[in-house]
Symmetry: C2
Subunit: 325 residues, 2 copies
């Protein structure tokens, strides 16, 4: 953006209106819309803020984007807007990398400790007023593989290391001496090192390469004592294979915050499995997250307005913001 013209900003809102937008409303013509009005709002718009970041409405309205130059999405994962027309366009795509990192890390540590300390069973016994002493597991020294070496994976790695776990990573390229992970294994050889892991944490971006990477073969390679934790995207997993692995005892448990269909349908067998913790895609959503999301957008908005380089520019070939720029 440059010049003196007032830009037009379309905002795809969801159930909630984004907070703290007043300063931006003074500097742009802001068109708030739901999915149905998105095409109309896009016509003549210079920028699009996808605040309803799980919406799949953008591809269908894209034909109306006649002068769009920038799209910002209020999430770390950009898979809902990774359709061919956007990929091939000159529209700059930015995301909200950073907002969720530490909150998700705390969530993952909480899930690991809940499994190790048998907390779900304590709660079930409590509901029955039953005192039943059990021994529990230590987490110190346990091995964790964090699949996904972006900022969220790094925050998870740092917190789990601080809590005494042994952490390694899996990413596109195998390498040693990573400051957060030490060893980073190659994701395409996952089954070779899964047998060593007590916990496997999925936080990779959803791309053609990562879709369905946790399948029957991957779960078969894990220890029967291993727990699988997904805070990335449901589609990283072949859900039927995960259910089978949990049923047969190929793995010991799963902590799932994301699902291939959200909300998780009532008929899913995952709801009722004793060794599964289901939560409603909330791991990153700390109190204040909505303000933090708008803050990240606003920072980029003022840069864009001033013609300065944007932050968190997504590499549309990779499907995420490359590390270090």
């Amino acid at each position: 953006m440059s010049g003196t013209e007032t830009p037009v900003l379309a905002v795809l809102r969801g159930d909630k209106h984004p907070p703290d937008m007043e300063p931006i409303e003074e500097a742009a013509v802001v068109r708030y819309t739901d999915a149905d009005g998105l095409a109309d709002a896009l016509r003549g718009a210079d920028a699009l803020f996808v605040y309803d970041f799980l919406s799949s409405a953008v591809p269908a309205a894209w034909h109306a984007a006649d002068r769009l130059r920038w799209l910002h999405i209020a999430s770390a994962g950009v898979d809902p807007v990774m359709f061919p027309e956007l990929r091939e366009s000159d529209v700059v795509l930015t995301n909200s990398r950073g907002v969720f990192d530490d909150s998700i890390a705390e969530y993952v540590l909480g899930q690991i400790l809940a499994f190790a300390k048998d907390l779900p069973r304590s709660l079930r016994l409590q509901a029955q007023r039953t005192w039943q002493h059990r021994e529990s597991e230590r987490v110190q020294g346990r091995s964790v593989l964090v699949v996904g070496t972006g900022p969220i994976g790094r925050s998870i790695a740092r917190l789990l290391k601080a809590a005494g776990l042994r952490v390694s990573g899996a990413g596109r390229r195998e390498r040693a001496g990573d400051p957060d992970f030490g060893t980073v294994y190659a994701s395409d050889r996952l089954t070779e090192y899964l047998p060593e892991m007590d916990y496997v944490v999925a936080v990779a971006p959803l791309t053609e390469q990562t879709k369905g990477m946790f399948d029957a073969r991957a779960f078969a390679a894990m220890r029967p004592q291993a727990r699988f934790i997904n805070v990335g995207r449901g589609e990283l997993v072949v859900t039927a294979d995960l259910v089978e692995a949990l049923r047969t005892g190929a793995i010991a448990g799963a902590g799932l915050d994301v699902f291939d269909t959200e909300p998780l349908p009532p008929e899913s067998p995952l709801w009722t499995m004793d060794n599964v913790l289901v939560s409603p895609h909330m791991s990153g959503d700390f109190i204040g997250w909505r303000n933090a999301l708008v803050e990240v957008f606003a920072d980029n908005f003022w840069r864009w307005r001033a013609g300065e380089p944007l932050r968190n520019v997504v590499d549309k070939k990779l499907g995420y913001v490359p590390s270090s720029g």
Copy 2:
């Protein structure tokens, strides 16, 4: 112990027989007993190993202890053997300090994360197959007061600090610059600094000074958002006052692993309160804890047999092992 005579060791076992006792059985006459046989076993015994560390059987059998010189208890808390006759005797008392520290620290962090991430409600919603997004709390930067500055309290402090919480301690003497706690407040002025705390963790030894220290006045001083976690002794708390504080919202929740009556009676209102996590005195009991307990006892046994100074000697006036010897 010295000389060539074979010593007599009484072992108060509980439901379970202590593991790994074979080497000791070769070096001593070992009399395993339950509570009913304790007096007979004590007659002529040189040492007593209280493996059933929650048993209250020792005082009633004490009259038979006609040549006892050493009593070792397989726990950190020594309150079950803190009766006047033992206090006033020359019998050396040692405990199992150290075994439970890191396991309890992990447990406390798990409870804090469970509260912050609203895990109990996620489990209740899961049981109803209900998808209900909520915002959750961060733990980074939250304030924690650890009441009890012994080795367990220190391990808790180190782990919580590593996870990003702000930790201070409360002990007998107020002081600054403590390596684990930074500031240590005086326990007898608890209500002055309780208002600043998001979490209060009770892990003090049970003594005349600490009994009932968490009463209506203490709970009234806490924030309505505060959670109280007890991994010390149930008798540190006036249970009726805690129930009332939880009912009225004077505090937001409690994670309770210990109770003034154990097992917690079925009629206790604590079982059914939504903001309470009840667990059956298990926070320290990691897989392998029984072997670790016997290892600590055996280390002292060989020292005693060789006439060397014992480890973990309890100051019978204080009711715990003083810091640094």
